[in-house]
């Protein structure tokens, strides 16, 4: 089975390539890249990428697929449907399912569900502690053997510093990073939004920035002690970025990700008690948003990850302090990132690096590259097409996006996993190749 993806602009940061190229794909593997028209004589299925960027498939290293246990919010199938519609060919999903993914059996179950869905690749992230209770180490070796690519208690900060130390030491044996949700629970107790002028005015108990920063500082210190790999999940404050920057300058194995909502929105979005603007960590101030962009620009922040956290409307249509934390993000991440390109934060190639190359490297996955011989995981997107966010049109089972009604620029046209088309934009359908 042969395919040619032609007339597109290939952006492949891993190979420092940014040029008009056609791709020849055979048996799901990238066989050759050539100048436009190179494969005109080859008998193959043709995909017209004119006007599109052809990038290595996007990789979201932080999503909640909710299965097993919370299938009313999302399943591996609906989550990967949303993923491929958003241009993602691979996901790493967090362990806060029910039962918790703290052993090999649950890890294998998720891998199996993803195989059955047959859309995006899914890499489970194993729990750090049994039951996410923050007390005893989970069966990390067993989960890694079953396919876990990272370890995290995401959603629950690891308050016991000694447990975190042991986990970092233990994980170094498998060379998997620990993704850390940085929140000091004593400092954040009872808070539902950023602690600042808005929380004071709205009368909502706040989560201070320092709740994140003390934990980032702690985990960087533990990375120094153990030489373990710490990945700071969804960084949200200016000083947290500064701490990561410093740790990198010191040569520690510390990486960081930021979620699109944290580089796009401020706490002002909470105005009117909008529960779709409630997430953990909370939306911060304009200074912090600027710091996220600066961190992306100078490399302090390695990756953009959605923290896609689907919730049922019944969990959001409640009093603000009762509402569930989290927003969906798989279908809006790419256009929100492209906005940073248009705003001059970084170039398109850097955007692809944050959305594909770096997540692959951090998780040790062989993707994020269009090198010959690698699996043909591709995302084709139009950087100019605009569309309006309609939560009801989302492929996700949940609609809790803070970007409802936004007009976004940048649209995924086609997503391919191992040479299989797993998503094609309906607007494009029927368009002659």
């Amino acid at each position: 089975m042969r395919m040619v993806v032609q007339n597109g602009t290939v952006i492949d940061p891993a190979n420092r390539l940014e040029a008009d190229r056609d791709l020849l794909i055979e048996e799901g593997v990238i066989r050759e890249l050539g100048r436009p028209g190179s494969f005109a004589a080859v008998e193959a299925q043709r995909i017209d990428a004119s006007g599109c960027v052809v990038a290595p498939g996007l990789i979201d290293m932080h999503v909640h697929l909710r299965e097993p246990g919370y299938e009313y919010k999302e399943t591996v199938l609906t989550g990967t449907q949303a993923a491929v519609a958003g241009g993602f060919t691979a996901l790493a999903c967090m362990a806060n399912t029910s039962p918790v993914n703290d052993n090999g059996a649950v890890t294998r179950f998720i891998v199996e569900q993803a195989r059955a869905a047959g859309l995006a690749r899914v890499f489970p992230i194993g729990a750090l502690s049994k039951g996410l209770h923050g007390e005893e180490l989970a069966a990390i070796g067993e989960m890694v053997e079953a396919g876990a690519v990272a370890i995290s208690d995401d959603g629950r900060p690891v308050m016991d510093a000694n447990l975190m130390r042991r986990a970092l030491e233990y994980c170094s044996m498998f060379d998997v990073p620990i993704s850390v949700h940085e929140e000091d629970l004593h400092l954040s107790a009872g808070g539902s939004m950023n602690e600042g002028p808005t929380s004071v005015r709205l009368g909502i108990r706040g989560v201070p920035s320092v709740a994140e920063e003390v934990m980032v500082a702690r985990d960087i210190a533990l990375a120094r002690l153990t030489r373990g790999r710490v990945h700071i999940a969804h960084v949200s404050t200016r000083r947290a970025v500064a701490l990561v920057r410093q740790a990198k300058a010191e040569g520690l194995a510390v990486t960081a990700e930021v979620a699109p909502h944290h580089f796009t929105l401020t706490e002002a979005a909470v105005e009117g008690y909008d529960t779709h603007a409630k997430m953990s960590p909370p939306l911060r101030l304009a200074d912090d948003v600027t710091a996220m962009k600066e961190g992306l620009r100078d490399g302090s922040i390695d990756a953009i990850a959605t923290d896609h956290a689907p919730h049922h409307r019944d969990e959001k249509e409640v009093e603000f302090d009762q509402a569930a934390h989290g927003v969906t993000g798989l279908e809006t991440a790419l256009p929100l990132t492209l906005k940073l390109v248009r705003d001059g934060v970084f170039c398109l190639s850097e955007a692809v690096r944050k959305l594909s190359v770096n997540p692959a490297r951090i998780l040790g996955l062989p993707y994020g590259t269009l090198a010959v011989g690698r699996p043909a995981d591709l995302t084709l997107f139009d950087t100019r097409a605009t569309w309006r966010v309609d939560p009801l049109a989302s492929r996700s089972r949940s609609q809790n996006t803070p970007f409802a009604g936004w007009e976004l620029t940048g649209k995924v046209r086609l997503t391919m996993v191992e040479g299989r088309i797993v998503y094609a934009d309906c607007e494009q359908e029927g368009k002659p190749a």
Binding site: K130, E136, L137, A138, A139, I140, G141, E142, N162, L163, R166, A167, E169, Y170, S172, M173, T226, R227
Partner: protein, 363 residues
């Protein structure tokens, strides 16, 4: 060569020659255990006190038998049966015992450094039978002795130590002994139990069992204390075994004539598979036999060179030693011992009749 140490507190500080001297002495004592009458009169009339603050049938009985084969009187005191539980301090207990004039005090204690505290009393030779996570020097000697029986000189040999290095006094003493004697030591275990600082000891550090075992001449398995799981050094015994249990398959990485040591008691199915423990490579029972010989050697060397120390002391008495005592007495509550009348040893006793082969004493 003479063995000039007053106490036997650890392998640390012993030279290669001193280690070899003790080993040669032990090797010559081994023969006594093969005799029909397993007894020599070397330490007749002397008392050895075994003061055990941790239960250890194996080490305690080994010291007891060693003392008895040298015709010494061995007294065992264990923490559970003595005044230890009645609030008496370690030093007070030791002072009382020393007042009974033992030839040596053997101590096993859960606190690292406890034997060193007693050694500072300096009322009789102190032998460390295991202190906390610090050292277990006689265990290291019996391990080395066993390796030497099988492999000859340990210099240049590759020896793996597998398991809980962090908490193991057996590992510490063996690392010191083996590296001093020129062996190449590899430490293998989960990173939680294998401190990064190990690399400073001139050893290799491995977190993969098979990689670590590649081509080794001897494997020393440490006992895994099950309660470590509670403190998150590993998720479960099952997962520990998955990574670090010495199985027949893992053993294939080592040299074909590899030997396996274990200080006992074994956790079968956790750190060692029964097929390996009971297999032809295991020298665990020889270790027990050699343990008696090593302890005989240490008791012999410390108690018979005591007179040398006494002579030296009489030379320096009233000088440095006296000065030190004065200083201590000026500090209220200082732990310094009071000079005790009659403590000084009587004029030189005659050497005991030696029943040792020439090479042991003649070096």
């Amino acid at each position: 060569m003479t063995f000039s140490q007053r106490h036997f507190l650890g392998i640390e500080g012993l030279s290669r020659d001193e280690l070899l001297f003790v080993l040669h002495t032990a090797e010559s004592f081994r023969e006594i255990s093969e005799r029909e009458v397993k007894k020599v009169p070397t330490l007749r009339g002397k008392t050895i006190i075994n003061l055990f603050y941790e239960s250890s049938t194996r080490t305690r009985s080994s010291f007891e038998i060693a003392a008895k084969r040298l015709s010494a009187d061995a007294i065992n005191i264990s923490a559970s049966t003595s005044s230890v539980n009645k609030g008496e301090t370690l030093l007070d207990t030791a002072r009382n015992l020393c007042a009974m004039r033992p030839a040596a005090l053997v101590i096993r204690h859960p606190a690292s450094g406890a034997p060193h505290l007693l050694a500072r009393l300096d009322q009789c030779p102190v032998i460390n039978a295991g202190d906390g996570a610090h050292e277990h020097p006689t265990q290291a000697l019996l391990d080395v002795m066993t390796i030497r029986e099988h492999l000859g000189d340990v210099a240049g040999k590759s020896i793996a130590i597998v398991g809980d290095i962090l908490h193991s006094r057996v590992a510490r003493s063996n690392i010191l002994a083996l590296t001093t004697l020129g062996a190449q030591v590899r430490l293998i275990g989960p990173p939680t139990l294998l401190p990064l600082e190990c690399s400073r000891w001139g050893v290799e550090r491995h977190t993969n069992l098979r990689a670590g075992l590649a081509g080794v001449d001897a494997i020393m398995m440490l006992r895994l204390q099950r309660e470590r799981q509670m403190r998150n050094f590993f998720p479960s015994l099952d997962e520990y075994a998955r990574g670090f249990c010495l199985t027949v398959e893992a053993l294939k990485e080592a040299k074909p004539n590899v030997i396996i040591l274990h200080p006992g008691p074994m956790n079968r199915g956790v750190e060692i598979d029964s097929r390996v423990a009971d297999g032809p490579y295991s020298v665990i029972l020889e270790q027990v036999t050699n343990g008696v010989a090593v302890r005989m050697a240490v008791l012999y060397l410390l108690t018979t060179q005591e007179r040398l120390a006494t002579q030296e002391q009489s030379v320096t008495n009233g000088q440095a030693v006296g000065q030190e005592r004065t200083d201590r007495q000026t500090q209220p509550g200082a732990w310094a011992e009071r000079p005790q009348p009659g403590q000084e040893k009587g004029p030189s006793r005659q050497p005991e009749p030696f029943l040792l082969p020439e090479r042991a004493v003649g070096q």
